[in-house]
Symmetry: C2
Subunit: 329 residues, 2 copies
């Protein structure tokens, strides 16, 4: 059973998940070549995954997007919340959810290869699962993320993203919420809206502007070609995004992914969603967004030791390069 | 010129270091095979590095340990401190030091292959450089770390570690100092001494006990086989460690590295030093230590999104396995 443990010095929660040691590639074995016959995410092999929790219908009675519980879950909903102490050490049962979103029925297509409507369907599946999982009041925050390619942590090549719901608000999101709240308390404005306004004036870190969305290289990008994607309008919660808004983000995301693929020769990447904790009402101070990080450098000893990042590519150069990168329509 | 930039939302400093884009393997190219003729760290090739800042003499007029400025520095001492603002964004000149410690003259030996006295000589070189760099009052904290193997971020195969001095106390160390200080304010005891006492009673996470040092798998280990190494006695600062203490740590480190090499088939790893900020006097609440992290899993989208870690290997299993692993003397 998974267990959450807190480091007694730095209050850092770690998920100890022995069941994940069984999955393919758990300890850095190379990504297996798989084809439609052996791939658990391909049509016809649905019995190879746990039963689905959501399906979007596809052509000819098939499916186009399918969501299933992760077969090697880091956390589980079907266990009781329980806390335990042993001297200095605190633990709690690994309550949470861990699901897989199969993004397409086609084995060889990447997310960037899909039509905008299909990418929208993936985002909609994230949202539908988020709304459903938010009914479990033990769950506090949900992360949608995607590992594309083995260097980014993918263990299967068929295009998929993942959803993890946690029973607490973890540090990376808590830090963002705290910073955004502090800015709002001071200025009564959303800090992300302020950043967008400044970036759209300066232009040098803007990767893409569409009618509804903006992609930019963040000023203090942690790694080369890190790119963030926002709705232009202030919106705090992905849970309450409209169909029009998801369409707008899907369109812009598709263009950004295709630019990255052309500019960097289809790199491995991580993509993630940052949004308000579950069930928290709309507010004026937080702005949901996507973060995309091509895997071009490694986190090494220095990053681990200091918690700082070294980025060899100035964000202005990355943005300029991506702005000029042409993609097929 | 390197530049330090602060993220306006989460107050995270990032080092933007365009010069590092020129180094080998900057963007995940495979580690080049090199031999004694082309390796810049081999005897006879000293002109391939910047002039040395420290040398330990070796046999026959040669050297055994050599410290040189990094040819692709993330930070530089020879620039002026200067701060600048642009709307929401803050930056400062990339003042700092970045040095390379060549750990042996022998091209094919890893740190684990070296005799204990040579490992002690490496730790002594770290300390000597730390004391020298501490005279630059702009520098606030120093990190010694080692990336062994390409998956751990090494760009050259010849055994070496690195030293980075920063003009601020970065988050990973600041968090530890804060947690240790809070425990001391509450209990008037060092939290690391308390952890050692509990672990030495429980035994299940202890990897190694020697007369002077203890190695253990931390209770909330972030990744498989993460191992921490402490002096048994309370000591806050590596800068003021005695020769006897460094010898004791070198001995234990050698045994731990050799156990890891046998148990995990010479994995890539990161090794790092956590100690008090520069020039801070000895205290009763912080305990310097080494952290060793074999690279067996990847940080992927979930870790990036949440700041939490998923560890598939319970620390008790890792410690039990390493305890039983026999190494050649």
């Amino acid at each position: 059973m998974p267990e959450l443990r807190k480091d007694p010095v730095v209050d850092r929660w770690v998920i100890i998940a022995p069941e994940r040691a069984d999955r393919p590639n758990a300890l850095l074995r190379p990504l297996p070549e798989s084809d439609g016959e052996t791939c658990p995410f391909c049509p016809g092999n649905e019995v190879m995954t746990p039963p689905e929790v959501l399906v979007h219908p596809g052509k000819a009675g098939g499916w186009s997007v399918r969501v299933v519980p992760n077969r090697y879950p880091a956390l589980r909903t079907e266990i009781q919340m329980s806390r335990a102490g042993n001297g200095l050490f605190d633990s709690t049962a690994g309550v949470g959810a861990h699901e897989v979103v199969i993004e397409t029925a086609e084995h060889r297509k990447s997310l960037a290869d899909l039509p905008a409507a299909q990418i929208e369907s993936v985002l909609t599946a994230w949202q539908e699962r988020m709304i459903d999982l938010s009914r479990d009041l033990r769950l506090k925050a949900l992360f949608a993320f995607k590992n594309q390619g083995a260097p980014a942590g993918a263990t299967l090549p068929h295009a998929h993203s993942q959803l993890v719901a946690l029973p607490f608000v973890p540090p990376a999101l808590a830090d963002e919420l705290r910073g955004a709240r502090r800015h709002y308390d001071d200025k009564e404005r959303c800090i992300f809206c302020d950043i967008l306004a400044q970036e759209l004036r300066d232009k040098e870190r803007v990767v893409l502007e569409t009618e509804g969305a903006v992609a930019l290289s963040p000023y203090a990008a942690r790694s080369p070609f890190e790119t963030w994607l926002f709705l232009r309008e202030h919106r705090s919660s992905f849970e309450s995004a409209t169909g029009q808004e998801l369409r707008s983000v899907a369109d812009a995301l598709r263009t950004v992914l295709r630019k990255i693929d052309v500019a960097l020769d289809r790199p491995a990447y991580n993509l993630l969603l940052h949004t308000m904790p579950l069930r928290e009402s709309r507010n004026d101070w937080y702005h949901w967004h996507l973060e995309l990080k091509p895997v071009l450098t490694l986190q090494a000893g220095f990053e681990w030791a200091s918690g700082c990042y070294i980025n060899p590519t100035p964000p202005e150069e990355a943005a300029g390069f991506l702005r000029q990168t042409e993609t097929a329509p």
